[in-house]
Symmetry: C2
Subunit: 517 residues, 2 copies
């Protein structure tokens, strides 16, 4: 933790290669309760200094982390391949995304819009009461606990989006490494430590801990020095952290991205004009990364028709051909098998097709199932996420039933419309419901593939996330870790730079309700 | 509810005049569980249409509410005086503030900055992957339950800041009227209903319910159609609502403004140069509205010295002279008496002075007490808010002890520095702590009196509020009731106006990370 590597006092963790089942050296010792406290204390001691570093210092720090990750070279990719079973090219792309994300946040820090400075100038002559000088800026919430996700060992892990946005906001970060990729985590953690040192920042700005979510993770979230939590993972894991956070003496925000089945609405004209193409693209999206994406299309909703029958058949054929892929961990593979078995065993559900049976351990055999709208509406369990390459098609009698399905859905990260121009009216009718249900609405694309930009929303109503007011991908993710402070009549010499009279940071400030030009 | 006045099925409520104890006609019937459901259903049916009303329609609606409240005339003030015991001039001022606030939010709605539109344009030629067109705007969260506060029967009640900001965001509102001023609530509620009708909006945009917090209030917060809660009141009331909101199938945000003792740090040079003046101004602030302000200065922290002794003496003399004032309700008066008795009975606390004993019921007898830093640090109960005109002075040995007191404090709405130029270094040392503890930091002012502007923060870390990322006063309060939605490759004809290619609303949009000029 901080700059020190401490040999943990708790149970040891070994990674395992999901492609072979073999255990990977070395052992990683889980942190004890004492070590959690120590990491929290270090981050607390770093907080006041780190949150007031200059925008340039913090931007350079984020860029240095990116440089240091790249400097690890092929060793990082090799270890990540061994620990995750993901293909080399995918992990190289993910590294590019991770470093690009850090550099994007550096540009966001420099631009300073996130400070959201608002100034109401004094009006000493105002009647009946004079107005004081009021200046608002945003400051960092405090040390943040980040939980690495298994399915993106780089982009949603130690130096992923949660860490990048929290560090950008001025929050020290303590990462609880995912036990599926401790070696990858260690390599990235050391890269961040190097950047902390190179930038002459307090060591508590970043710590990395190993251990179980139930012990180390729970202790982190319960520690009073932690002021926010970033998490990507299962619904049960996320809700457990929410509960701990709410039961603290001082409750804190938890940003948990949890569970989404990402409905695809295949509208009638689109199916008629290009059903085969949509079917194949759907199966390709479903198979991406063995379906282990938060945005995997787990549901297709369409009106019952001969065209839909054709779509189902083409999709089924494509699925049968799909090559198997290794899943991330044995646990995920087992949960996937159980989820598919539940669907198979449900007599309201028809199996359309299964993918190839793979050789070796932890192979994801894709699955495509079909049910009626009535049955979907009546069986809550059909709405449960099956994490992996399995999807369910829902046949509806008419447009009204399509809308009823949409209304029945829980909160989602995404909702997709496959539509042609002739479907515009049907789409217009669905949109208000989709806006209430999802963080992102796509037309004629596929939800897998989340762009890291300024306009992205990777969020959505519960249970997609614990806080629909936020996004965990894209530059707006920084707002999760900030709070406003108002300064009334503070002498200019005491004012932080963002609100000084001379505007030394050249920020675009809201003055008396108008934008400074 | 909606446009109908429904005779409730539950226990009846009578207001009582706190100045005389007499019961005020008429009776107000509390809503039943059935009626809560009906109000929620009406608001749900209004939601999709109301949230997509044009900016102009919504702005005019807010202005019409203000006009209709003014149109009630003296009857509103008379009833509010009778129900609250507050002076006529104060309530007239509060009405001005309430209507000004509605009109300010109308201007905010028109300006449209709250939509926070971000556009990342498509890059079809980008390698290795093309970029889709991504457009983000903010939409209303859903119907909001608002709880009227007792201490501002107009500005924090039926048409107060929570209602104004939620309506501005596009959320229908259901207000649970505070039982201390049902008549005032009814008059304002009818004014809003008139505005709903005049603006041809769906009736479910606004409903008003009477009844107890434990029944009607709890049922409202538990209803799945309610998507956020605004509350100003006690810590126990706020935390009870937080609990209900978190235990729902879909947890929702609660914005509860609860408990703050608003520390005043009287720095050494300021005390020496103008201790008498500060003492008198402090007592004036403490006595405002019988101390029944969320921002009443309940704590003064200073270094032990002969100068402080003088300050204490002058403040005590001023307090003894203070005229008594009627408190808002019998319940508040009883709780105040108990709070003061706890301080009096504590052998670590010395009574400096008590104000005059009033005649008639519910008179607030002001109180000033003193304790040592050691004792304050050791006795948690000394940090509890005593709602009313009582304050506690803490004597510290040195600057370090002042800082320790600051660090020991729970989250606050405000923290105040009384300082001279020669205190700049001491103030600079305290600032990082105060920023972590409070939503607003004042210099040489008094925390009572909360400006409704763009830069105001009326918020702060728990338990001052349930969500330190927000403010309940000022235009930034609108952000509490919004969430982002991203539209990917949506055809322009389906795009909401805010994100259309031609920018018909002339918004200042972030395009590819840069501001459109």
């Amino acid at each position: 933790m901080g700059q020190q590597a401490i040999l943990g006092q708790s149970a040891t963790i070994f990674a395992s290669n999901p492609m072979t089942g073999e255990t990977l050296e070395p052992a990683y010792a889980g942190g004890s309760a004492e070590e959690v406290k120590k990491a929290c204390q270090l981050s607390w001691e770093a907080f006041d200094r780190y949150r007031e570093t200059s925008l340039e210092t913090r931007a350079v720090f984020l860029e240095t982390i990116a440089d240091e990750i790249e400097a690890i070279g092929p060793a990082l990719i090799e270890r990540a391949v061994a620990e995750s079973g993901l293909p080399k090219a995918r992990l190289e792309g993910e590294r590019g995304r991770t470093c690009g994300q850090l550099r994007l946040f550096a540009s966001v820090v420099r631009a300073g819009e996130w400070l959201d400075v608002r100034i109401d100038l004094a009006m000493p002559e105002r009647k009946p009461m004079p107005r004081a000088d009021l200046r608002q800026r945003h400051i960092a919430l405090g040390p943040v606990a980040v939980f690495g996700a298994s399915n993106f060992p780089l982009a949603f892990s130690v130096a992923g989006g949660d860490t990048a946005s929290a560090l950008a906001a001025g929050c020290p970060v303590i990462v609880k490494a995912h036990s599926a990729h401790p070696g990858t985590s260690e390599l990235v953690g050391r890269a961040i430590q190097k950047a902390v040192k190179a930038c002459d920042l307090p060591e508590g700005v970043f710590s990395l801990m190993f251990g179980s979510g139930r012990e180390v993770g729970a202790a982190l979230v319960a520690d009073e020095r932690i002021k926010a939590v970033g998490f990507t993972g299962s619904r049960s894991g996320g809700t457990a952290l929410m509960k701990i956070a709410q039961q603290r003496r001082e409750p804190i925000p938890v940003y948990a991205e949890m569970s989404s089945i990402n409905p695809v609405f295949a509208l009638q004209q689109a199916l008629e004009s290009r059903g085969d193409e949509i079917a194949k693209a759907f199966v390709a999206s479903l198979n991406m990364g063995a379906g282990q994406f938060c945005t995997s299309p787990g549901l297709v909703i369409a009106k019952k028709s001969a065209t839909l029958d054709d779509f189902v058949q083409v999709a089924g054929e494509a699925l049968k051909e799909s090559a198997t892929q290794t899943m991330l961990t044995q646990g995920i593979h087992e949960a996937y098998q159980q989820g598919v078995s539940r669907l198979s065993a449900n007599n309201k559900v028809r199996e359309v097709a299964r993918g190839r049976v793979g050789e070796g351990p932890n192979q994801c055999q894709a699955g495509l199932f079909l049910t009626s709208a009535d049955d979907f509406l009546n069986e809550e369990e059909l709405q449960e996420e099956v994490f992996g390459a399995t999807s369910l098609i829902i046949e509806c009698r008419d447009d009204d039933e399509v809308t009823r399905i949409a209304e029945h859905l829980e909160g989602q990260l995404t909702a997709t419309l496959q539509m042609d121009d002739a479907d515009i009216d049907a789409a217009r009718k669905l949109l208000p419901t989709l806006e209430r249900k999802a963080g992102r609405i796509l037309v004629n694309g596929w939800p897998t593939g989340v762009e890291v930009g300024h306009a992205m929303v990777h969020g959505g109503p519960y249970p997609a996330t614990s806080d629909s007011r936020s996004t965990s991908v894209g530059t707006a993710a920084i707002f999760r870790f900030l709070r406003p402070v108002c300064y009334q009549d503070l002498p200019d010499t005491l004012r932080p730079e963002a609100i000084k009279e001379s505007n030394p940071l050249k920020l675009n400030r809201l003055v008396n309700g108008k934008r400074e030009s």
